[in-house]
Symmetry: D3
Subunit: 308 residues, 6 copies
């Protein structure tokens, strides 16, 4: 089972302006082959298909728990994409109706790279890559063989790190850069964790392979805050009570990678302090949340009061 908390895993600064092309470049980190839908999909289905769970508890717990973290990554990137496509929250932007729509108010939307993102999703995010091609199960490897699956995961996190770096290099918007900075730290943790899992089984010191690509996180300003907190040394269980057995892999005397701030690896119960979710103020002329939403706002207000 899964529970949800109405927060993001990290605090995202508001975007400075609406920039659909930047938003849908960031979408590569959601729905691309090496995006968060892929890390989620791989670990989630591997955890469902995991054989002999009790006998392999630390390995099962690792995959099952990171699944939950990846859900939050999917959420984080998605919020980032929608925020950048939508622009800054405009507290009263959604009041009144959409007015006269007969003068092509969105004529610039026919020239953005992924016009359907406006026409169909009103600027919302979808599980597709930066070219608008859908995520699908070709991106999932779940063989039931523990070593093959973990090796796939290790390669996936290294590839994902490369993609995050390249997306980062295209973005000047603070929202998207923060998404990349946070994910670079956490993705590096996952690469490290799968390396250690494989080291335990095979004896091969895969952790020496890291970082791949060969650039330290210290070169990314947006990573510093998270490194300072020690995020790179922590795996959260993302669970009230389960998955602690992965401490046999992550912990147990293992330490941070050489290029990162030193310290012991540790498993932390639960989840990190989260950041707030932005409003994504609607745009009545784009029919979000509706053309004339005020009556709906009033109804919602009454229902809200009735729920208290």
């Amino acid at each position: 089972m899964f529970m949800r908390v109405d927060q993001l895993q990290a605090n995202l600064p508001p975007p400075k302006k609406a920039d659909p092309n930047a938003a849908f470049a960031l979408q590569e980190l959601l729905g691309g082959k090496y995006g968060e839908m892929s890390t989620l999909g791989n670990y989630m289905f591997q955890s469902f298909n995991f054989r002999s769970k009790d006998k392999l508890r630390p390995f099962y717990s690792l995959v099952a728990s990171i699944t939950a973290e990846e859900l939050g990554h999917v959420e984080l990137v998605s919020n980032g994409v929608a925020m950048i496509a939508n622009g800054p929250d405009k507290p009263k932007g959604d009041l009144g109706d959409g007015g006269d729509i007969s003068d092509a108010p969105f004529s610039d939307m026919k020239d953005i790279r992924l016009a359907a993102a406006f026409l169909s999703n009103g600027g919302g995010v979808m599980p597709a890559n930066s070219n608008g091609v859908s995520w699908n199960n070709d991106f999932i490897t779940s063989t039931g063989n523990v070593v093959v699956d973990l090796l796939h995961n290790f390669h996936l996190e290294c590839g994902a790190r490369l993609h995050k770096l390249r997306v980062y290099e295209t973005l000047s918007d603070p929202t998207g850069r923060e998404v990349c900075g946070y994910l670079l730290v956490r993705g590096s943790v996952h690469a490290h964790a799968y390396a250690l899992a494989l080291k335990k089984i095979t004896g091969v010191d895969l952790d020496k392979f890291l970082p791949t690509p060969n650039i330290n996180l210290s070169k990314i300003p947006e990573c510093q805050k998270y490194l300072d907190e020690g995020s790179h040394r922590r795996l959260y269980t993302f669970s009230p009570n389960d998955y602690r057995e992965m401490a046999g892999i992550w912990g147990n005397g293992e330490t941070a990678l050489p290029g990162d701030p030193p310290g012991e690896l540790e498993v932390v119960d639960g989840m990190p302090d989260g950041g707030k979710i932005h409003q994504l103020t609607g745009v009545p002329s784009a029919f979000t949340p509706d053309y004339a939403p005020e009556e709906m706002f009033e109804i919602a207000q009454k229902l809200y009061k009735a729920s208290r």
Copy 2:
């Protein structure tokens, strides 16, 4: 953010035998157009793209919270598929190595409907439909318009109910039937919830549309236990502290549908009591979890102890 609990939403009886064709019929409820990946994908991305969240809190909470429940549905169906494809848990079946594999030990697997499910996934589940065609984002509607999205969701749950009924009618295995029984009750709740949400906004009594298809859950023996518990009257927040505002929609004097056991609708904090996750005993000759897994079991045992 999301958390994970190492339990299923319902207790699944063990399968009586391995039956890949039945398993991958059930997979329609995972990766088909009206499967749980679709309900999850729709509500998850709608919740990410939701505009003017604070002004529409009860509606946002409804969609955001059901997302978390759908994750558990994806997990439940997936476990069901893998269990039926794998057959009964065999506590010592994964001991020893895979032995002599030179005599075509899996020759019957070339004749199952979806041979790749064995060849590639070792009998595991994948987000595809019962024909093996991948789930993809064509199944998601997330327009940012609240009424269109909710109407889509209402139709989706009605269609999903039909699909669950048909899958149920093909299965004689108790595992799969229990999956269907549980999901029929919970899916009916979601259809009811979206009907009420739309009724609040538009005044149209969409709840009179239910049940669609026009068969009561009382006709499905596997639903009784859940109806007796009142599951059909409950929406869980699937959250430690959030999403209670949906009580303005689900509750607030609304009652169960006429064909179901009577009573008031209620929002319940947190999640239901869950059921245990099966072991899916590995089959060394199929290389799950490995050809000769015992050394790995020993390593895992040591790591497990180190984690305590």
Copy 3:
């Protein structure tokens, strides 16, 4: 069986200039999830799969007849896309040969959003969405259950209305705007018709749900002509002799929606007066209809005379 008439359902004004990006924004209304290929595909296959046709004649007739209208919508949008991509008809533009092609005469085509639309289709339309992703059968729901199928159709028309509105808001070209204006009126009729069909079966007044999104057609100048004619109150049989039984649903005392010009709903035999189809003058340098088409024109002229 189907017959074809060499006219469009509406008179389209010529485009003012070639604008590939505008043309392929409009293509969302053809090959997108909520485009005309989807309404066509759903109703066509539902009509093929319709069970117990005689016992459900009015419902069957409604779906079967609207199928024929949707064919004309597919044709109308397609003509619109090709017209805008091609630009104004140039009566003698296709005379002579394509001349010297060695100086990159179409260098601007590598920068349009969907370059393949020029490279492969010579500026022609294809059943894909505004991002160039193919239409496919994931967009079709045909369950054989009448209520589920009709509910799907109702949601589809509401979603399609939203998409038409958004595409309209991106276009300043008169051709595309006329396409949207016409389709908004006709799509609203279809939404209304499915609402009434479901009302007959379930008693739920789904027509009160309309218009969705909540904007009246009176706000769209390009709709006025059609509203003035009463198009919003008419369903054509699009058949010489069949499908009149849908008058039991559309008609029978039902009236126009409150926000539209008042009056009774009526079924009209046959089809509306159509508009002429544009020439789409060829561009020999783009090899349409050929590099040096004049000999072909002469041959065609002779064959034409022989056919008279």
Copy 4:
């Protein structure tokens, strides 16, 4: 514009039994690369994208008119598939409700080749091939170059003829065999027509290429009736008043192919005598048209009377 007539292009004998595997073998002729969705899609989009229509009237008319015939082929194959999957019409089979569904009444459906065709479509047809893979726009060639498009069409019809022959060789059911017999005759006409069109333009006697594959229709018993009628010498305009100009190509002294009954080619106004559409009696236990459809039948009966 298109009109619809509530008849099939040919009279299909009822199926002898329900045979889903045979039904979905026949589906290759609908949604496969060389199926009727492909001939329809190619000619329809070519007709929309046709350049310099007036100057090339006979060629335009040929493509535009065959489009309308292909719609009827799509309908014919689709009806055939649904009939074979559904089995013989059972006049009262749809009365009463679906009864007790708790004993896996459709357990055999999990073993049919395309289980989703039952689970999702209730045995209905979909635009997919015989393996269940969706038709899509990769199957369409519409370049705007008349010679390339016509050559594509000629190859398409030859390939389609081969596919029809192979499907025919797998079917013992009379419904499916009749579909094949009819389509073989009509497809051969289209191959012949495109050969003549190209001969007019290029002078190459492509008609000598036929029949491809090199088997005469006289070897197919189900073709005889249509050959006897002269169907192989006729192109229908499938239009009340348009498209007669194709007589410059089909006619004009051209005669039947050597292996077929001799005679002049002729263009016939309008359409052939059609055959009746089967009822596809519903199966309440499969929720088609509904679980308990009688109330719906009564409502429909009243609406039917009101429409007269």
Copy 5:
């Protein structure tokens, strides 16, 4: 540039009987995610996109050369699939015409798992997996980063080895088993080669990771002949004059893996002795190579003589 030699890389024994389900199980090794189209596609596009080739010559040569070997693997699996689907070569089976086809001579083909393989391909192979789903570029990783690409390749070969083992376990036909035996040896070489390449760059002894899955080739009787020849110690340049620089990686003192027959690794110029390509005798009643091929055979015979 590439050259072709009219031989297979290995000698395949003829199949004992036609077995389409076995043939298309083997197709997983062609068009599945871990099939030979994927190894080919990855290495081919990586070699095209390889940066700074001269400075990284040994690595470039390794990837470029293995590409050529993978072409032969694609050919080998493809021939195996077509052979098993077609059955034993019947020297005179293709003489005469196809005879009377009116008695459903291929009725059993509607029940094979992938009916389209007969209907569309006449029993031929296609780049799809064992479920008939197309290979596509989602299976290719070509990032331009050498370490990420090589790590991907290493994981790919390990996954491919698992898939080969599972396919092998389903086949009793000698043709398919030989394909698996040969590919297991050669695929193990490639896994070893990529491990060594990465070891050179990173210092991590990835070769200790092998064999993955943890079963020695000595357990597979069909591998013995190739192990005895030393195939597991050899990389062929598959080139008249190029790619010898990969000897810096494969060779240079490196030796066979512990579980395989011992010896030094060596680069061998050119290619292995090949095996002959089977005839795939046509079946005139299935229109392969034609319904009445004898005239074509005579023409071919004359052309053959003219070419000498």
Copy 6:
């Protein structure tokens, strides 16, 4: 079997500048329906599936040998795309590390048409069309019927010629224009060869159909060099010893097409003189071949020496 030679089939001039939009327009000729992946895939799988090979040797040899040439075409277009996306080779551009990447050094990449080509492939080529949609097996026809397959191939080459002409018309860069010029000559040879093959079998003078589209190669300056050499009259065996039997078709008194320089057709053993492959200098800041590649260059240098 296949061998590889480390050269391109033609000498490509270096690009003048990096121009991703031009590069991915050219990609239409790789992964589009009428691109080189399609010609390769069709001929390769047809050669694998070819029936009664010995009896049809000249036809088999033609298809098998052109397959090898198409591999080189895939390589040529791919190199062209990657060169144009990467820009001129910069001999020392890959020295040093990537420096400070924190200032959005690739911000312009979020606005190129196919952003994923940078984000995922670092500017590399992929088997997709100019819109980024994947090549797949829907583009392959391999029926096993010789006439249908050859006719398909003839149409394919004519369509491919049209696409090459249109791509050529969009490019001002010399690299891409040279690719088009070379491929136009060679593709015209293939169209001619398939026309002759069909003429031998059917007697229809399909060669009179050429050139299609109706423009002579003499109008394309980039074709002249190849015409002067007589490339349009030559088919290479692309093999050390095989495939000469195709001289029965190509040769045997047949001559060049009327619009091309006159002369006899001839089969030439082996392959043409090739051109050198460009370096594609890496860009460390884009992580190609790595962020700090110098250590890797040193390692490669040592391995290179060890291999000599």
